[in-house]
Amino acid sequence: MAAAVSPTSLESAPRIMRLVAECSRSRARAGELRLPHGPVATPVFMPVGTQATMKGITAEQLDALGCRICLGNTYHLGLRPGPELIQKAHGLHGFMNWPHNLLTDSGGFQMVSLVSLSEVTEEGVRFRSPYDGDETLLSPEKSVEIQNALGSDIIMQLDDVVSSTVTGPRVEEAMYRSIRWLDRCIAAHQRPDKQNLFAIIQGGLDADLRTTCLEEMTKRDVPGFAIGGLSGGESKGQFWRMVALSTSRLPKDKPRYLMGVGYATDLVVCVALGCDMFDCVFPTRTARFGSALVPTGNLQLKKKQYEKDFRPIDNDCACPTCQKHSRAFLHALLHSDNTAALHHLTVHNIAYQLQLMSAVRASIVEKRFPDFVRDFMGTMYGDPTLCPTWATEALASVGITLS
């Protein structure tokens, strides 16, 4: 599948992305985001700190790992502690004392996935708070208002989210509504100089719908685009095709944020397909279940086989956990009620993701990204030919062969 020529944006929107290098074979790019709270090298993985905390690790620990941007969730924070309090605390940065960048989502996804009695209308998403039973309407205006109070460096439009497994007219309705909601978000945004509003491309798994959405949304004057509506229950074959379609029609000079993607293989493939930014709860969540991420997959450290394994999680990992502790110690600690066990793994898994992105970026800058991909797949699957079919196909579509 030949790469389509990507249009540049029609308006002179703020250019927050500077391209540093591009892979001559695939669509992979290395770049730098210029954000209010400092530069961020791309491709970048953004850990998710839902409720103004990166779970059990401190801001200092997160900073020491090299993280320069992470996520907060508007839905959760909008309910507890609420935007008024956060504003009094000098925004989300002040409230959690995070000196680097923050990205907040609109609250739309949680609204639909977490709340069983939510109702979507043209107005917005109506729902009942699980904490005090109050009924609220989350409209595009309201979502932007909350995010303005939070003060995050990147804010997301409120989109009409449908699960990728849904088919039929609902998908089309949601796509068109998301465009209208984008316009309402742009109009309502009070701080375009301090906060970058990203659009979210919808359209489900329908190429025509997605193309229409891309055509329309790229006419709007926004600093960046997210690819939404994927990373749900869809097949990987459909997933990568929609990602590739999206990147082929997004402007080259603006960042592409693929939402909800976090498995290592997916990250590498989607970088090849032209994505710059990623977020996912997976690495931090799986840490709290005792699973450590490694180049060959993961280690379920609670299992008996690690009881007397005196090696670190990963010999080549520079994180504090691997520098100081063995699998055997972590195994013992995981079987205790000391939460420190979870924090050790959270630190390691975030380090793993960030180190992976760093390595990807270096390979793009040094013009050896295709070799990097082959090495990566070889390590992960034992042999590049044992790589999952969808990944092989996706990589082939952008000129990277594995054998």
Partner: protein, 415 residues
């Protein structure tokens, strides 16, 4: 090791223990507390977060109850528990039990003592016990002992006598086993003083244990609620009077600031630091003052602050938590309370801990309300630092003969 006293004031001993550690080059000031750990790690804290705490004790307390079940792993590891847990730089003391989780009574026999880990009961004869210590290789360890005379409501003289007899027998057995092992000789055995609430038996235990070549003494069976300690303080004085001056005296189960001072006045040197952990688990932060010589302006502000807190606590409902079953004290504030929702002050003004330097009461309140793991991390960092600061102030007060002022300050803040 060598304990030298700098001075003794009103029964309080100020001094240094030198030549500690495997290389014999470490020193520890007394009175002091030991770093409380669970399964070899400070609660909630990784090496990174632990080492942001100022004033960390020179010695950490490990509990056999959390480590005994890992005995085989440690034996195969060979290099000792200090390295295994990633704390090679700390001195290590291994106690039998965890002071926070009382173990079920009725499992001590003439031949064995049981500890309770998360995996269940581990029964140990003297041989098994010493084999485990050989794998752990701590600097000090509490000898196998019968501590159950103090568990029941009213100890019979018979039970008290048995606790002393058994503990002495265990001690002699363990000392003999130690002689046969080069590895074990690098650790010091801490003899355990038992005897329930029977003065006669307590004195016998003290005198007999002191005859053995132990590295120090553990005063067992004085734990309980504040009322029980009150009645046992007289016993405590009599016991320590029988012990040699040049060996350290540890006490288990006593960690509250007011109780610590009472025990120091009765000749105790070393304490466990589980109290800050219990405070953390109930979502509270230590705020009591140990600044016995504040500047005059500060005094007025602080006094008002303390009075306010004391008044409030009188009206507060008691809080019981699952893990600690302890009531909140007036040494602390409860961050879950609504009044902290918009309080942008640090936990304690002037505190140099990571939490107070970086975060607000409002943030901690939010973390507690949303059940976030970071709450425990930050509170533990603050509570440990505050508590270690308290012990530092005890030593300073003793140095400058101001312990009476410190004691009065603490007494005013005790509920």
């Amino acid at each position: 090791m060598k304990l030298s006293l700098t001075k003794v004031v009103n029964g309080c001993r100020l001094g240094k223990i030198k030549n500690l550690g495997k290389a014999g080059d470490r020193t520890m000031d007394i009175p002091a507390c030991l770093l409380y750990t669970k399964t070899g790690s400070a609660p909630h804290l990784t090496h990174q977060t632990l080492h942001t705490i100022h004033g960390l004790p020179a010695m950490a307390q490990l509990t056999l109850s959390s480590l005994a079940e890992h005995h085989e792993v440690l034996a195969e590891y060979k290099e000792g528990i200090g390295k295994f847990i990633g704390m090679p730089e700390l001195l290590l003391y291994c106690s039998l039990h965890d002071p926070v989780s009382p173990c079920p009574a009725g499992y001590v026999t003439n031949k064995s003592v049981s500890v309770w880990g998360l995996g269940g009961r581990v029964e140990m004869t003297a041989s098994k016990f010493m084999a485990i210590q050989q794998a752990l290789q701590p600097d000090w360890f509490q000898c196998l002992s019968d501590g159950e005379a103090s568990c029941e409501e009213a100890t019979s003289i018979k039970r008290a006598r048995k606790s002393v007899d058994r503990s002495l027998l265990f001690l002699d057995n363990c000392l003999r086993l130690q002689e046969e092992s080069e590895v074990l000789q690098r650790s010091a055995i801490i003899g355990v003083i038992e005897g329930g609430d029977m003065m006669e038996e307590r004195l016998r235990s003290a005198r007999e244990t002191a005859k053995r070549p132990v590295g120090g003494f553990l005063l067992d069976g004085f734990q309980g609620n504040p009322a029980t300690l009150e009645t046992r303080l007289h016993l405590l004085s009599s016991v320590t009077a029988e012990l040699p001056e040049d060996k350290p005296r540890l006490i288990c189960g006593v960690s509250r600031p007011d109780e610590v001072l009472e025990c120091i006045e009765r000749g105790v040197d070393l304490f466990e630091s589980f109290f800050p952990y219990q405070v953390t688990e109930r979502g509270c932060a230590l705020t009591f003052s140990f600044d016995y010589q504040p500047n005059p302006e500060e005094t007025l502000l602080q006094q008002n602050g303390i009075q306010e807190e004391i008044k409030y606590v009188d009206q507060t409902k008691k809080i019981k938590t699952t893990s600690c079953n302890q009531e909140m004290t007036s040494f602390e504030i409860n961050l879950k309370e609504k009044k902290y929702q918009e309080d942008f002050d640090p936990l304690v003004r002037g505190c140099s801990c990571y939490c107070c330097k970086n975060h607000t009461r409002a943030y901690i309140h939010h973390l507690l309300v949303t059940n976030e793991l970071l709450a425990g991390v930050l509170l533990m960092m603050h509570n440990f630092e505050h508590y270690f600061g308290f012990f530092h102030s005890i030593r300073e007060a003793l140095k400058s003969d101001r312990l009476a002022q410190l004691k009065e300050l603490i007494r005013r803040q005790a509920s």
